[in-house]
């Protein structure tokens, strides 16, 4: 009997099995889980401050972010009433897009281009790319009541710019107000683009305008 037989042979099988078992338990990288991620090094990972939209037990509504204090004006708020509301001091709709808005956008062409971009984001789902009311939402939802009217009739062709603006701002009938997600200048830009659409569609042309954006095509 030689000395070699008395020594234990290195057992590679056991560690290899252990590694394989570990891999099977731990799974592959990046598996889907509803559990919050583990952060191994937590130094300053959570600072004692609130993130945007974080919950806070301090306020009754549970929000850390506070609504604007009544009768205060934020820096980015529009101070010109006619520009802000689309209604002038006499209570009539502003007839055309205010000069100041066009000037700040760098001209009517730039304003309309901006409007095209914004229209494709906020209006296309219901009003459709041509403004004829054949959007995706009325089609898919199958609810007849929310099919919006076409822009291409005399009623809306002759509506003052301020009325279209006020409709975006305040909503009308089934259309919700867009004041909270479309800022003042973008609302006027959309008005400019709606006007461009009305001109484009006036003689019955139906050539589709290629939407500039749109997440899923």
């Amino acid at each position: 009997m030689s000395a070699a037989d008395t020594l234990p042979r290195p057992a590679w099988g056991a560690p290899a099995l252990a590694v394989m078992a570990l891999a099977m338990i731990a799974g592959c990288q990046g598996q889907t889980s509803a559990e919050p991620p583990i952060v191994p090094v937590r130094n300053m990972h959570e600072l004692p401050r609130y993130d945007a939209q974080e919950a806070s037990p301090y306020f009754a509504d549970g929000r850390a972010m506070r609504p604007p204090v009544p009768h205060t004006i934020a820096r980015e708020m529009e101070v010109d009433e006619a520009i802000d509301t689309g209604v002038d001091v006499e209570g009539d709709y502003v007839l055309s897009i205010p000069e100041a808005v066009v000037a700040r956008a760098g001209g009517l062409e730039d304003l309309t281009r901006r409007g095209h971009e914004r229209y494709d984001v906020y209006c296309v789902p219901c009003h459709g790319g041509l403004g004829d009311g054949n959007g995706m939402v009325p089609e898919v939802s199958g609810v007849g009541t929310i099919r919006p009217p076409t822009f291409h009739d005399d009623r809306l062709r002759h509506a003052p710019d301020g009325q279209i603006y006020a409709t975006i701002r305040n909503g009308i009938r089934n259309m919700p107000a867009y004041a909270h997600n479309v800022p003042v200048h973008d609302r006027w830009a959309i008005v400019a683009y709606v006007r461009a659409l009305q001109v484009n569609q006036a003689d019955g042309r139906t050539a589709a305008l290629e939407p500039q954006t749109g997440a899923g095509r």
Partner: protein, 215 residues
């Protein structure tokens, strides 16, 4: 007299191999399982309302900014207020049980408690608007959200991952008009778009210094 048996001559070799293998396993376990690629990626929390991005952004083709309206103007993309949901859902699927928390929020004024999916450490600063203005699209960091029934973290969101792009932004710059277009790839770029991308790339100054993000 021979004290140690002859096979012990192999002991240093076996020990060295054992240490190397053990070290290899430990290194692998750390790199593979303890990295953000494993810990962050795949996080898909359950939300109070099973909102489907695949339906809204994918099938309906709604732009990301319809709801995440602040993404171009502020550092935060913002989860939309209940008002945005109710804009449509005051008329569409008004009886849906799954939308009950939204209607309750609308009636009570209390927020829907959405769960944050993409969370970077508090000691790192990130600004959505800057990235969008530079031509970095949603899909670069968030993946194909328009195909997700439940939003899932796709990228490690680690410092190394950030720096990969800050050092080589070429593949992640797209025309501003395609910023939210999840299906668009640089192969689809028109000649004008290529020129715009080259311009954006020439202007891009992604910080690589510490204080760029840790401020």
């Amino acid at each position: 007299m021979q004290i140690f048996p002859k096979p012990l001559n192999f002991l240093p070799l076996v020990a060295a191999l054992g240490v190397a293998a053990g070290g290899g396993v430990v290194t692998f376990v750390f790199v593979y399982y303890f990295s953000p690629s494993n810990l962050q990626v795949g996080y898909a929390p359950e939300q109070p309302v099973p909102y489907s991005h695949r339906l809204h952004a994918g099938q309906l083709g709604m732009d990301c900014r319809y709801c995440h309206a602040n993404v171009e103007r502020s550092g935060e993309a913002m989860v939309p207020p209940t008002q945005t949901c109710m804009g449509c859902h005051s008329q569409v699927r008004t009886e849906s049980a799954r939308l009950a928390p939204v209607r309750e929020s609308w009636e009570t004024g209390m927020p829907v408690e959405w769960v944050r999916v993409h969370n970077i450490p508090d000691h790192a600063y990130f600004d959505h608007s800057v990235h969008l203005a530079a031509g970095v699209g949603c899909v670069s960091c968030h993946g194909r959200v328009d195909r997700m029934e439940v939003v899932t973290v796709q990228e490690p969101l680690s410092m190394g991952w950030c720096l990969d792009c800050h050092r080589n932004p070429d593949d992640h710059i797209r025309p501003i008009s395609r910023i939210t277009d999840m299906a668009w790839t640089s192969e689809d770029a028109t000649e004008a778009e290529r020129r715009q991308m080259a311009g954006l790339l020439a202007r891009a100054v992604p910080p690589e210094n510490c204080s760029g993000c840790h401020r």
